[in-house]
Subunit: 361 residues, 4 copies
């Protein structure tokens, strides 16, 4: 197999009519001259996210959600979600560059029918005790502060058989999987899955120890845990606050892990809970990963590229990738933040970078 090619003298034709005709010609061939390209993203000194820092106030979102409770029938309950749209990314359904969050209301007696998708999701419970999410044949009951996983391709359905409304935050990797054009959606054969195990059995098996059941094998890329219950998380935070300073940039911060790998709960999203001690003002830093924060309790500020985000309980806010940011707990009690990020994605691809910065305030 030879590669040799006679270097033909370039036919001038295209250029006779002058440059403009030449460049028009290029367009018709679906090629574009790099030397005329002015898109700054081709040679960026450093990343500049199109997302903007933003806070969604729970008072507003909850009010509108309750109104939606009257507008939206039980049949549509599974879609009674207010999607948090990043003003810098609209009209894309994106809360941060690779991450989505929405606030969902499920009223007493409502269910969300069985389905599965390639996109990975979790729920972080804001209000209401006792509704369930069923995953692969097991119902996990949800309490405020619980994080409940519905991973890629896992069958799941939800139901609220209590007498109070339930509100949770949905977290998904939808913006990422859409960019990667890899999403699939499958409706289930029934409304609700058959229950193969007693409710919450995986939580009892995995949540509160470092022991793994040796009679089971696990070959999935995500955590076998369905629910990381707040009762366990809260106890850990309390004891850790008594003796650890934690990270200068994030305080006492823990990652929810996959017991089978020690790594993130899912290949596409990492989930964290952090406590900022009373009056803590963290050091500033920046990293290529994006984050969506949900305020579990407390009140404070996060300064992002010079912009001050004020937050209080149940607000949701986002910090774009590579933005310089620092957290301030303005109160005399610890503030607790839940967050999810795309760190696992950036690390898997070699794109994670982090840098300490000078404080802005």
């Amino acid at each position: 197999m030879t590669q040799s090619i006679e270097a033909t003298s370039a036919p001038g034709g295209a250029a006779e009519g002058g440059e403009e005709q030449y460049y028009r010609g290029l367009g018709s061939l679906n090629v574009e001259p790099l030397w005329r390209n002015t898109d700054p993203r081709l040679l960026p000194t450093e990343p500049r996210s199109q997302a903007v820092p933003y806070v969604w106030r729970y008072a507003d979102v909850r009010r509108e959600l309750m109104t939606a409770g009257r507008l939206i029938s039980a049949e549509e309950a599974e879609r009674r979600v207010l999607m948090l749209i990043n003003p810098g990314l609209a009209p894309e359904v994106e809360t941060a560059n690779n991450l989505y969050a929405g606030i969902q209301l499920v009223l007493p007696g409502e269910i969300a029918p069985m389905h599965k998708h390639a996109a990975a999701a979790f729920r972080f419970v804001i209000e209401g005790t006792g509704a369930y999410t069923a995953v692969n044949g097991e119902r996990a009951h949800m309490h405020p502060g619980d994080i409940v996983l519905t991973p890629s391709w896992a069958w799941h359905d939800h139901g609220n058989f209590t007498d109070e409304p339930v509100v949770w935050m949905d977290g998904l990797d939808l913006p990422l999987i859409n960019k990667l054009e890899s999403n699939f959606f499958v409706d289930g054969p029934e409304q609700a899955q058959e229950q193969l195990r007693s409710a919450d059995s995986t939580e009892r098996l995995y949540a509160a120890s470092r022991l793994n059941p040796a009679w089971k094998t696990w070959d999935k890329p995500y955590s076998p845990l369905i629910n990381y219950p707040w009762s366990v998380t809260e106890q850990l935070l309390k004891s850790a606050l008594d003796e650890w300073v934690g990270s200068p940039t994030d305080g006492v911060i823990f990652e929810f892990t996959n017991p089978e790998s020690g790594g993130p709960i899912m290949p596409t999203m990492g989930a964290y809970i952090q406590a900022l001690p009373a009056k803590m003002h963290t050091e500033a830093h920046q990293h290529t990963s994006s984050a969506i924060y949900h305020v579990v309790r407390g009140r404070g500020q996060t300064i992002v590229d010079g912009e001050v985000l004020d937050w209080s309980q149940h607000d949701t806010f986002t910090v774009p990738g590579w933005s310089v940011h620092e957290h301030i707990n303005t109160e005399n009690e610890p503030a607790v933040l839940f967050s999810h990020t795309d760190i696992p994605v950036l690390k898997a691809l070699g794109f994670y970078q982090e840098r300490a910065c000078v404080r802005q305030a």
Copy 2:
């Protein structure tokens, strides 16, 4: 820390003025009702790439490139590239969903100054023998069919000190790293790097055996090889064609690997060379990964979602993710295709899916 919240009766205010006012109100809060969303990408039965199948004919691209050789000064040589823009993705600089390819001309005596970036790149040489790419202090001389790596954050510069024009295809993960908002670009301190090792020494060390130098350690996520020379690739293809049928969907296909991991050359791109035996008509399949093909030799067709792409030597064509495709070698000689894909990305994130399909022709 308690999570309990009194379920306040929803203030009707927002809804008094009727639904329209309500929905306008949502917009002002940067939330969007999922129940009114009609974006099919939120619940896709299966992926549908926005990219389209397309062939860039080398005869056209080469002609315009030679014209550019007269238009563009030596100073701009590093930017004398015709970028292959996928008609379905324009104006984005994307050839496939996560992949970019451009055709570059470097004339005798020209150089492209030293720089580095977080985006990973390689060059596949089309025409011209003897120009070099210098990577981290070593010059690799380029010959038609060579694949030369300039990985993420690796310093590199190019030069053509021969008396013939050199044409190569640039392959980059730029569309991916831009979506992930993680690119950095740094200009080098000099025009050309100091030469720390004799030219092509890494090729001699690594390219033609399964032995690794035990006096070196390697901690990078990409291959230590700078050049995978055509001389080695060609010999392998010849002998493999004599005795292997290969894959029903891709014929005799090899992946260029990282000798330190056995995996892909880079975390974000896989590179392959394949030979379709005379008259081979492959079985049809689809996978979530995208591919850009460059025809090293031969002539044939690739049918993509029913559309026929005719290709011959040095043409470049793309097959979008999840499209049903099959290859036909219309000639009595083997056809050879080089391709690069985003398979490593999709596998790392758990998004790779593949399915056999019914032939379209």
Copy 3:
């Protein structure tokens, strides 16, 4: 470099004097003829351990240990250990093929001075509450049922400042590391380590959740946990017994894991806790790994290659590799067994094999 060698005609000299002289000659050259070898281990149909099944009765061991308490001065306290010697392996200090166990008594007021070694060790506490093991600057207080790690190269010292005697089982990979001729031993600079952290802080941080502290990095091959406390283990066993059948060969069995990897606590030893429900008679199987069992509570039998081992609380017994074995809980209460094995070693080297067998009783 040529390899060619003239095939010289073999000088008959050595054989003139007949075979016997020939074979004597071989000995003097330190070569041995394979064709005369009769060592069955060179071509074994399957493995046959030199270890034998054996039970060490706690009543006996404890009695002798208390006597040793009078014989052995406080200065020698660290060596007041009765090593459990497998009758089939004596005089080697081995309890199973790759594993060692000894029973140690530490009296009130005694300490074992600071040291470290390449061999990995743990303590499983049998009697006495409140003595400590200090590891890398942190004291872990010990309670019956706790498993306390002193991993490879980790500084450690022990002390009993309570008013009751403490008895624990030492578990080490000494037989393995001795076979691999890789052990090192270093005495510490002081009697006791400086306390760098508050006592038991690692237990509070890691033991009772699936969250990892994100402000710490861990690059060791073993678990960061020092103590896996019985309080956590017991609670898990109780709840698991209520709803799981577990494994047909081992009942409800859990592995103590490394939170950073999801794997075994150490590269050379795996540790397990299992509960056999009332009257359970397990199915028989065999595996290449060896195990040392310590009876935490209950009474029963283990049949090993047809031999019946009767065991009750605090006895220690061993099951050799590839022996056919089955467990019987003879009582109406759950029996609880702690065990340590060489599974991680055999799996890392590709030597782990397992096979179901016909029951012997």
Copy 4:
């Protein structure tokens, strides 16, 4: 489940008759007092191998082997091996602590029937061209300098259909697998395996490039390559000697790798080829791994713990673990050494240690 136990007063009985009676009593219980143990291996300052440095001269071994060619019938050909027994380890069949080597003679027309075993093996060819080893259905033809793998559980048989005697060195992990009591041996159903592929096809596919066949999947823990041919190895050594200094302790040294993992050829043995430039005297070092060296060409000395080992072409010598050693090439031509080691074992278990030392000569 309570762990509490009343600390019974120790029954004095056993001690009444004085210490001697007490210690006799311990023996009858198969326990041994650590405080009386004098085995230095329990607390070694550093490892001290029981193996000794030793050279087996090829002139001697070959002469005796040729004599064996007359003594041993063709039926026993498979066992016509002179096993190299380390004087420090005799009567164990061990050449180094975890490694075995033997020299085998196969005469024209002889075959070694099909079999497989858990122990991993390879052959390094010393004399004779054209005999074959068949592995999993493929015959690999052997030439001086080739290394041919017969991995754990792989069916293999050998034959010499040429008209010259063939001599090779067998390398096995037998001492290790015996210590781990994990070996299995299975005779094949026929004399010779059915040939499923054309001879040497895997060598053509894998040996001389960094490309992996993408139409095959490989899930074994060892290399898919059967033969690493000398022709490829020799060419690499030649070119590397022209431009690399290599390691100060080992010269220009390469590891034979598994193309699917980038790691060692097998989980239990690593194989290396190294060239010591003319007159090179390496720096001294020590490591916990053991090695068996075979001299491919040249003449020199290796000083091991002060003892001088003189070696020349085709001699085999061993360097025990943790011995201080340095190599001297006494000639004006490069010396070439093949070696196999237990490095992969020690690294997998966390036992690998290395240290630079002061030269002994």
